[in-house]
Symmetry: none
Subunit: 223 residues, 4 copies
Amino acid sequence: MAEEKTDRSDDQWAQELLAIGGEEHMTPKQIAILKAAVEVFAEKGYAGAATSEIAQKAGVAEGTVFRYYKTKKDLLISIIGPTMGKLLAPFIIRNFGSVLNSPYETYEDFLRAFIVNRLDFARNNFKLLKILVQEIPFHPSLREQFVENVMNTIVEKVSLQLERFKEKGQIADVPTSAAIRFSASAALGFIMTRLLFQPDKDWNDEEEVEILIRLIMHGLSPK
Amino acid sequence: MAEEKTDRSDDQWAQELLAIGGEEHMTPKQIAILKAAVEVFAEKGYAGAATSEIAQKAGVAEGTVFRYYKTKKDLLISIIGPTMGKLLAPFIIRNFGSVLNSPYETYEDFLRAFIVNRLDFARNNFKLLKILVQEIPFHPSLREQFVENVMNTIVEKVSLQLERFKEKGQIADVPTSAAIRFSASAALGFIMTRLLFQPDKDWNDEEEVEILIRLIMHGLSPK
Amino acid sequence: MAEEKTDRSDDQWAQELLAIGGEEHMTPKQIAILKAAVEVFAEKGYAGAATSEIAQKAGVAEGTVFRYYKTKKDLLISIIGPTMGKLLAPFIIRNFGSVLNSPYETYEDFLRAFIVNRLDFARNNFKLLKILVQEIPFHPSLREQFVENVMNTIVEKVSLQLERFKEKGQIADVPTSAAIRFSASAALGFIMTRLLFQPDKDWNDEEEVEILIRLIMHGLSPK
Amino acid sequence: MAEEKTDRSDDQWAQELLAIGGEEHMTPKQIAILKAAVEVFAEKGYAGAATSEIAQKAGVAEGTVFRYYKTKKDLLISIIGPTMGKLLAPFIIRNFGSVLNSPYETYEDFLRAFIVNRLDFARNNFKLLKILVQEIPFHPSLREQFVENVMNTIVEKVSLQLERFKEKGQIADVPTSAAIRFSASAALGFIMTRLLFQPDKDWNDEEEVEILIRLIMHGLSPK
DNA sequence: CATGAATGAGTATTCATTCAT
DNA sequence: AATGAATGAATACTCATTCAT
């Protein structure tokens, strides 16, 4: 649960990278390459990034990059792949097994946990996510993988939860897909505004999250 | 109001391009180049697009591309610039002048008009918007322009409306910025799912919009 | 004797061009093209000059340049050719016919007339000469033409004069070729310093010419 | 004193290049590139030279040229820069320190040493000098550098010598600048005729130099 | 393992020249 | 005669990839 912690310095995603890479069998040079690649891909995009710059930033020779990653695309994939996996982590961990094991009593609790957790993850993996979002449109295989593995998995797992809460009468009787989309959009909109569009604003995260949850749960209509 | 129509074939954005380019004084070749550029930029991204491919797809010689657009970046800007402008169109047109002139009695009406109108625009300008979204991270000048001109304008205009409705007691007393973000996120989430992630699903747009508006207005809580 | 006058404004070589071009059968556009070509060739060199810039500076369409001069090289040659011819003008005019007709009593008089006249010519045709000097190394045909027509002609004509003066005992008994080279070098060195290296210095031309002639005639040895 | 030797084959300037380039740390390929560049620049001029031709003539791939010289202009500068420096060599070496250290008793001796030495240098560095002379008009920075560093240095150093000889009554009382110009013009005129205009003539260099010196010292007047 | 020199296909851009109007 | 749109070969330069050391 390394990514759960807060108060990380900006590029603490280095730790994520180790986890992502499969931990043990990575040499310091390989780690340096991955770190440099994340940096450069995030800044210039895959097509605009030069492997020579990555090598230089990693402090290795140009050829060394290709010793670890046969092609430039391999390097991209070995960054994006694990990042996609990590997006699923909280669901796999927390909801492992059946719905019955779910620790959440209300949808509100579930939402709160989800938003706080993923905001934290996004904060700590900002550059990785930036690459993910930037490159998915240009690599059909990545897109497929993303839709199939990530989106479908999330939708499926959350659907189970949502329907449980619906049955309990905790939430309104709207199509599950619309409800998920609505929740996820509102949450993502906040996370992206928070980290991407206005990162320098003086945010009170806890308060904002509560407002967000209130809006999702009660909408804009007055009591 | 060219972008208001529905049921366009996939690349009917060609018409948009004509309007975007300043209409009358464009030669067929220039139009072909713009169309080809939109196609290729959307598919491969600016950095990954080859001017030679654009020329080939446009059916002109490589040199011809540069007769009309001095640089590759000029070509990008002459696509993105007008697109940004068009994003503002409904606000400028419909809410011209003061808030008092607003034709909307309720926030719900306003929301509905906004979502329908922009969904339609997005449908007809899908590739243009894709380029816009994809390239903004890599061109600081574009980002600035976008934030300053587009986002600030929208936020400002919508703020006025929202506060008017808040005064009327039509919507809850939440911070305006959070309310706007919430509304916009929900709307954008729908539009992107509709067009980007599941374009092939059999959507009933009118119904979906009504559900979406209901969710925004009442949230997920049961009556 | 148009080129004999002094006090010309900087680009009075326009008149030269008319004379050079064969005068009568040139349209205003052709003249404009030639003038523009001289300007651009002098500034950027033949290889670095763009015909489009020449056309623009001449105020004509790009195609028009090629109506008058089939190729870019034609344009260069039609500038350089006549300029080479003009270099010979004073000899052909003044020494027309036999040596006996020569109007000069002493080599000193001849030198003085030559230097003053050619300095004036150089002043009024500065750009033309610049082109000549710059391009001759790169166009073997031009070089041949220059050596054969210009240099040999000058050497031959001056040889006759020089030998006459040598017979008269007016000048020392050195090989004619060395004497010519010596005189021409000293004169050219002054002209180039005067116009090319230090054009802004406050020159007293008459005095300088007298010193130069004294040096050529008497060398550096003290009286 | 590498450049002092005579009887070099045509492109023995290769040795110069090694010295010019900083000697030791040049790979064979880099040397080949420099040699090819000198060849092509001399023949076609900087603007008319194609890097592809340089690469081909050097027997390396196009990319290799740019490994060693980031731009085409870098390549030019790395040829011209050291050549300019070498022009000053004899003054720096021979007249190091003050005028008092000068090894020459008479201006004639000084002239003779200068002409012989520089003729030899020009012979061995013909193409390098050709490039220098050809490109100076088109590169303002080169011109400045040349005037400031080379010309001014030479003029200054020679002025000191000349004035010393003038005081001794060895040479006439003409303005120093005119005397230098006169000497240099006569010498350069000979060197250029010797190497550029009539390289194939059967020259007796020693005799020619003596005549030249006599002309500079005593002019054309008979004894 | 690691290097970095070498490669050559690929890129954006320029420009002399042509030709339909 | 004059135009200027169109061309496409040529140009300087980049970069992912290979390979001998």
